[in-house]
């Protein structure tokens, strides 16, 4: 392979330009970051090159659509921030590595919150009375999807209060086109009624499953919702126990996905 030989023949730091522009594959990125961690001069160079790429970005500026500002600000107001990184090792050693980890750190920082959902997943594994029961394969598939969503590098968690009581929490991954939904402390409903989940967006309003809650308002397991479209929100309404093809009451909670909302 000509390319292989070619790239090996060059010192690794020649990759600095490609790296600063994300023009490397994932394994190359990882390898180069290992190299950077031990090479302060290389890091200094990358830093300078990144300033240059920031100028390239500035030059590409466009006028954002009018609705974007509100959407983003509203989403931010509903999004918990990541706590600052606390060094675990002496700073001089830790620095080069830490400074590179912008994106991975976000994922790591989500970990604590995701753990709560993971616990719910573990609980669900032993439960057979799930609404879409009798399809064990599907449950297993669902658990795989749950794992894929929770570990996706773009996993994001959002929570909102349910107006009638309780909290709805969503972990979503655009990359996986799916989200994991859980709720806690939901008000209990009369036997004839159930909470129903909906995807609501430009692609229409689609039922996303009936929520099975215990008497104490705790869900028996997380729900996986796939088939997300751009601009979707997720909402809950109270419906007849058999479910409805369309919402018949106002939502008790609505969550923007990807910050996009109407």
């Amino acid at each position: 392979m000509r390319f292989r030989r070619d790239s090996r023949a060059q010192p690794v730091h020649t990759l600095a330009g490609a790296y600063a522009m994300d023009a490397v594959s994932e394994p190359e990125r990882a390898r180069f970051e290992r190299h950077l961690a031990g090479c302060d001069a290389c890091w200094q160079e990358v830093r300078g090159l990144r300033e240059a790429t920031a100028a390239l970005a500035a030059a590409a500026a466009v006028r954002p659509p009018d609705g974007l500002r509100d959407t983003v600000l509203r989403a931010a107001a509903q999004t918990r921030q990541v706590p600052p990184a606390v060094p675990e090792v002496p700073a001089p050693l830790a620095r080069p590595r830490r400074r590179l980890g912008w994106r991975p750190r976000i994922t790591v920082a989500l970990g604590g919150a995701l753990a709560a959902v993971a616990v719910a997943v573990a609980v669900a594994a032993g439960v057979v009375t799930y609404d879409q029961q009798s399809r064990i394969d599907q449950v297993q598939g669902r658990d795989l999807t749950v794992a894929a969503v929770l570990t996706a590098s773009d996993a994001r968690m959002m929570s909102a209060r349910v107006t009638t009581g309780g909290t709805a929490t969503v972990v979503m991954s655009h990359r996986e086109h799916a989200l994991v939904f859980t709720a806690a402390h939901l008000s209990s409903l009369p036997a004839a009624e159930r909470y129903e989940l909906w995807l609501i967006g430009p692609a229409g309003t689609r039922p996303a499953g009936m929520i099975t809650a215990t008497g104490r308002g705790r869900m028996v397991g997380p729900m996986v919702v796939s088939g997300l479209s751009a601009g979707d929100r997720i909402g809950i309404t109270v419906e007849p126990a058999g479910g409805s093809p369309r919402p018949t009451s106002p939502p008790v909670v609505m969550l923007s996905l990807a910050g996009r909302s109407g």
Partner: protein
């Protein structure tokens, strides 16, 4: 910006206009702007929503611009830009001014996410069909004076690169291609492209006089 209204990387190298005139960017202004953004970011880290709104106003256009250059599809670009902007809110505490400017931090997040999106979601065949630099993406080029100055400055500096450096840099950054893909596109050896990317960016950095 006249007529075409394209971004600086938008044109094939041969059509890059020579600089029309010196733009006379005020001395020190990039630095000052960077500092301002850095202190905004510090306030955002404390959950200051007003600071976040101000930060949004300063960065959203650039974030969307760079994402759109790479991703193209307007709806998807908007979605990615939202994710990036929300990332900025969420992880503001992780920004460290010692390690680079706030702008570079935000734009690195934006570019990386855009690139991740096209690499993970676009099938190889679709990528083939992407025409490097659709001019429509630049119909809404910001009219802000600052943005125009940035564009002219970058255009001028890009024009100072060799053709191969310029093509390598613009295909990688605005096109979101890997250096291997760029090598393929340009029919040039992979090692050459790597070197040109680095040399080109170094030259760009020096020409722009950005703080490192």
């Amino acid at each position: 910006m006249t007529g075409s209204g394209r971004g600086p990387g938008g044109e094939p190298a041969g059509r890059l206009e020579p600089d029309r005139r010196q733009t006379g960017r005020p001395e020190g202004s990039p630095r000052r702007a960077a500092d301002e953004l850095g202190s905004l970011l510090a306030r955002v880290a404390l959950g200051d929503e007003e600071a976040y709104a101000a930060l949004y106003d300063r960065t959203a256009g650039q974030v969307l611009g760079v994402v759109r250059a790479v991703v193209r599809d307007p709806a998807q670009s908007e979605e990615v830009a939202q994710e990036v902007l929300l990332d900025v809110w969420r992880s503001a505490s992780r920004f460290d001014a010692e390690l680079g400017s706030a702008t570079a931090w935000v734009m690195t997040l934006a570019h990386r996410r855009a690139v991740d999106r096209v690499r993970s979601e676009q099938k190889a065949a679709e990528r083939e069909r992407r025409v490097p630099y659709a001019s429509t993406a630049y119909d809404e080029v910001a009219e802000a004076v600052e943005a125009r100055l940035d564009r002219e400055r970058v255009r001028r500096c890009l024009a100072s690169l060799t053709e191969l450096q310029r093509e390598s840099v613009t295909l990688a950054y605005y096109g979101g291609y890997t250096y291997r893909e760029v090598a393929e596109l340009l029919g040039v050896a992979i090692g050459t492209v790597k070197t040109r990317m680095r040399d080109g960016l170094i030259r760009l950095r020096d020409c722009l006089g950005v703080d490192a």
